[in-house]
Symmetry: C2
Subunit: 268 residues, 2 copies
């Protein structure tokens, strides 16, 4: 498989450049090694980066990809003397967008501080809310939730909730469906008044069996037979309550979150 090293070189935290790393997922046929060089704001650091680029090229047998975000033009031009494939965020995106908006872009450390506004506080508040409302920990404050994820134990509710909160500032509670609910044959009573913001997760029995076995190998809880029954009953409960659900078996938290935001759009 083709090997390439990808450098993220920034004069700030490298968050913007790092976000572009998502683009690499379009090329699963290449084995990428990712190297982050944040706070590269002096000529010495850029020269060190150039050496690293040279070494990586030799090791990989192919020139590195450099995703760069450097506000200083001298540093930018120096770095570009390396033999690499450059994605220059300033040339490609930030400067042209600045022309469109008729506004000088902030650079480097200036940005990090500018993001600490209301939206940032909302995200952090959502993370706190989500951690305090993980796994049905408490019923108090559920009316504040924007989304309530439900599903059998270990179907992916927690990481999906955390992603929704951290990435989008959505207060996402999650609530497990447990044997008591299956015996009673209805959703937990506390959820009845929140049906409009509930979203279900389900999972394939074989996958749930594998996941549960990692923690409690050989238990009844983890047995394939029990997983099958729990999932079938949970899906019956959700169906009869009219709840939309998605299968987490082969979906990332990113993909599940996109689906949840799409389906519950009116609430978030």
């Amino acid at each position: 498989m083709l090997k390439r090293t990808v450098f993220f070189i920034s004069d700030g935290t490298g968050i913007t450049a790092g976000a572009l790393g998502k683009l690499l997922e379009h090329f699963p046929g290449t084995n990428f090694t990712q190297v982050r060089l944040p706070f590269s704001d002096t000529l010495d650091k850029i020269k060190q980066a150039q050496e690293d680029i040279l070494n990586a090229a030799e090791e990989d047998g192919g020139r590195p990809v450099v995703i760069m975000s450097l506000g200083n033009i001298e540093l930018r031009n120096t770095l570009k003397q390396s033999n690499a494939y450059f994605i220059d965020l300033f040339n490609t995106f930030i400067d042209p967008l600045g022309l469109e908006l008729d506004q000088q872009p902030l650079t480097g450390a200036g940005i990090a501080h500018s993001v600490m506004g209301t939206k940032y506080n909302d995200r952090m508040e959502a993370v706190n809310f989500t951690l305090n409302h993980d796994d049905g920990m408490t019923n108090s404050g559920l009316e504040e939730a924007q989304v309530i994820l439900i599903g059998v134990s270990r179907c992916g509710k927690t990481p999906t909730s955390v992603y929704l909160a951290m990435q989008f500032g959505i207060k996402a509670a999650n609530y497990p469906l447990i044997p008591e609910d299956f015996e009673r044959g209805s959703l937990p009573a506390v959820l009845h008044k929140h049906l409009d913001k509930i979203f279900g997760l389900t999972i394939k029995p074989e996958r749930l069996h594998a996941v549960r076995n990692e923690r409690r190998s050989g238990s009844f809880y983890a047995s394939l037979d029990n997983c099958r029954k729990e999932i079938a009953t949970a899906e019956d409960l959700m169906r009869s309550a009219g709840i939309t659900w998605a299968d987490s078996t082969s979906r990332s938290v990113e993909e599940l979150s996109a689906i949840i935001m799409e389906k519950t759009r009116k609430h978030v």
Copy 2:
């Protein structure tokens, strides 16, 4: 303040396009409204998007910014007939990068599945580890941690740990410094053998006072005087143990994470 609507239009989850939203942070002088239109994979949906673009332009008094990731060329060309400022990830990035790598890019739903590899599992395992090792919840398994964040209560340890885990797959435990530690004048005994992976967080007393007051207004715990004393003592403890720390007062979790990864680079 200038108003602009930014549309993220994708035939998949919109994760790649959404990541580009970070670029907007370079322009704090513009008030951006962000609209996500994932799964836009039919002509009908693209036509609806064009109407939304038109309406947003009228409302804002300026043409929208459209960050688009559409694999299908017909949909792409149709969308581009709108009056907007386009950032086309395929034209700008993905196709040129494909030429460099001599590889056809995956598009749409194909990508989401391709990201579910080892790295994804590592990230999810890190999230579980971090949630199970939040706030000194347990000492068991600390040897598995790649980073242990310490600091006074409510200085930002939890959201930073969660971000490190979710974004970078780093198993980040966190451990509070509490009055008992201050009285004893040394770090908790359990941390002594992990000094090489401990990173400290500190915060300005005024900010800590405000944060604690939100939860426990008027308490001794939240008083400015107690916050000052706790922070001074915590910094003394960290200094004498040779622990590097960063001030979280005006730094986002993204920025703190970049600093922590930089400083503890040998471990992550």
